[in-house]
Symmetry: C2
Subunit: 442 residues, 2 copies
Amino acid sequence: MEIKKQIADKYLKTYMVEKDPGSAALIAFPTSTDEVVAFIKDANARKQPTITIGSQTGLTSATYPINNAWLLSLEKMNKIISLDEQTLTLTVQAGVTLFQIRDYLANTPYFYAPDPGNKNASVGGNASTNAGGMRAIKYGVTRDNIRGYDVVLANGDLIHVGSLNKKDATAYDLKDLFIGAEGTLGVITELQLKLTPRPAFEKSVILGFNSLDGVSDAIFEVVKSPVQPVALELLEESGIHYSEQFIQKKMPEVHGEAFLLATVADNAADGLAFQLEAIQALGKKAGAIEARELSEDEASEMWAIRDNILNGIVSRGDWKMYDPVVPNHLFTDLVKEAKRLGDKYHVQTGFFGHAGDGNIHICILRSDQDDETWEQIKHDYENDLFPYVAKQGGLLSAEHGIGLEKKAYLPYFKDDAYMAVLKSIKQAMDPNNILNPGKMFN
Amino acid sequence: MEIKKQIADKYLKTYMVEKDPGSAALIAFPTSTDEVVAFIKDANARKQPTITIGSQTGLTSATYPINNAWLLSLEKMNKIISLDEQTLTLTVQAGVTLFQIRDYLANTPYFYAPDPGNKNASVGGNASTNAGGMRAIKYGVTRDNIRGYDVVLANGDLIHVGSLNKKDATAYDLKDLFIGAEGTLGVITELQLKLTPRPAFEKSVILGFNSLDGVSDAIFEVVKSPVQPVALELLEESGIHYSEQFIQKKMPEVHGEAFLLATVADNAADGLAFQLEAIQALGKKAGAIEARELSEDEASEMWAIRDNILNGIVSRGDWKMYDPVVPNHLFTDLVKEAKRLGDKYHVQTGFFGHAGDGNIHICILRSDQDDETWEQIKHDYENDLFPYVAKQGGLLSAEHGIGLEKKAYLPYFKDDAYMAVLKSIKQAMDPNNILNPGKMFN
């Protein structure tokens, strides 16, 4: 196994988040689960903090090197092992990226449903953050699309968790414990992913509203109806503005100030038609001033606007992004509150996200503030935003996780008794506290 | 809170499983979560084994009184608290039964999707066993239909787990840990259930095959197709025979020796038609000698046959039921092996179950064996069956759980390293071992 003490910067910071690289004692590049087992056994014997890293595309500094840790990079564990059509399972090493999976499945009738924004992300990283994405409204999040995996425990034991079976009442559910644990309970080395048959037909619809209020009603109507869109995304003026500037193209013309972009899919043309009509009717019932199907060209233009909102925001300078989630019907209230807080602290805001899931990405943008002021603004904004989200019954993170960035805010959402359970599980499973210590909670 | 030392037999044994009632020191009937908290705090201070019981409909003796335990019956926590149409959530106390939920929702456009056989079961019990049922193929198991709940920990702390949000990357997933834990990690007192909008159209199809082999191919074709039946059930000769005798009615005439009974649902009539046609075509491709839609009358007759297989078996005398699961394509192999083992040990067998999930219920029936022989046969049958299931990548229990009945067989499925994790979690969360000790594992 290759081990280096000279560590390239790309391994020492996560994509887009930290300014400066962290520091680590060494980096190892295993190519097999056996090598991971040996490495973790050694680390545990020495009580050596160890951080598993994938593509470093996380957004919470969950894999940022601290504690002079050993880094365990899974980037060379990048093999797609097998496609099993009998159980619709794709077995991959944890370092495989979403791009690799997409390309591999391109000529099959199946796809891997989770759709997080960054396709350079490794699937092991996706599992460790329980990544979400746009298709979660229909197909669920990463958790729902993993059948099983091999995971190396803190003591170096290797266990297989989950199975290819569709039902499981055989002892505690460990499968869902390591997923979303941000590498603090074990190292996932190989995964069995659930594949989904591709629907035969797919089409997009746009709904235009005079204000965010109508958007909220429309989301509610759609979500409680039997229509199940594949995606239901919010587009509002600030986000559209940043995206248009970035791609130097105008959004297709639709009346309104706030929009819902929906994609529906079906296996029968008539079933698709039913869903398309239903979504337009539900939108109009909720006050949409325009509701129509998009042509293929328009749909690809509209999705380009959606997909480039973050690029547009990032290209303007310093920014910070949050990913709270609230129950569906409180979604637009959250957007309005986040805007109001932006005004309060004199920062511009940009929004995009998953209206159908109640999950909005809130970005605040630095203008001409000095470093100290910008730090203070972020601190104050967060200490206004997160208690509001908690009061609404929402959560600190929908899909990016906690890492270092949000751990100070976890107590707004989880009380002492709850935190005690988390800590007792961590203590039981990693008594020497070697696996990504200091992330998520202390 | 009512507490009794004279305990009626119905609390001292589970439905249909044990011959003799167990014994317990007392039984308590709380009506609120606060009363449960006080009771568990007291039990923990005394290191007193405590068993939470619901409707006693379990099939694994998971709630059978041992250790001279205190019994905590939740039958008086039987209130439906609220229906929230904004989030499609039904909040109920844990003692509420599936019958209560069905009746409560009858005049709404929503339903609670899980469909375990015994509708007298309490939803708290369903959560604690992660109960499955016929609609799991489309809507998932109990786990997938619970948004959150209140749970009293072994130390008496009350925490709320889960939320009404659709995405969650906010620290470890505790929600799925208590579900299926058979009351060994906490006492679930109040639940927030996910409701599903009722589809507009529903119809059943029957596929008849010359043998079980065709059935297997048809399951495979359907499962990997984009059609998503609500139910896909196996009917084979022995099960049909017992059911027909019990209800004194013949099954509607269909050519074949083995059958798949499928229900499909859709919101558009054309979408339904597409699914109906597709299932028939896939069945024929796999060798069905008859494939047709059922009229409403025929469907209800056919489902009556399906629903009375277990009644038919039970009415004949002593029996034992197993609920293994294997990956879909190995389903009929499992049925054949279970039949072969029946022949080997000279017992009759009866089968019913969830072909679409790979989950079969295998019943063996006692004929004229004496007690000792019957015990030996069960022991031998199990020690042949379960290693076979394990070798196929299957699981010991799909939906009934482990309890006392199956705990001896868990090591066929989970190795020492895996069991060590289960035990370390139990030890961390219940250090005095008061919650249902001795069930699932020692």
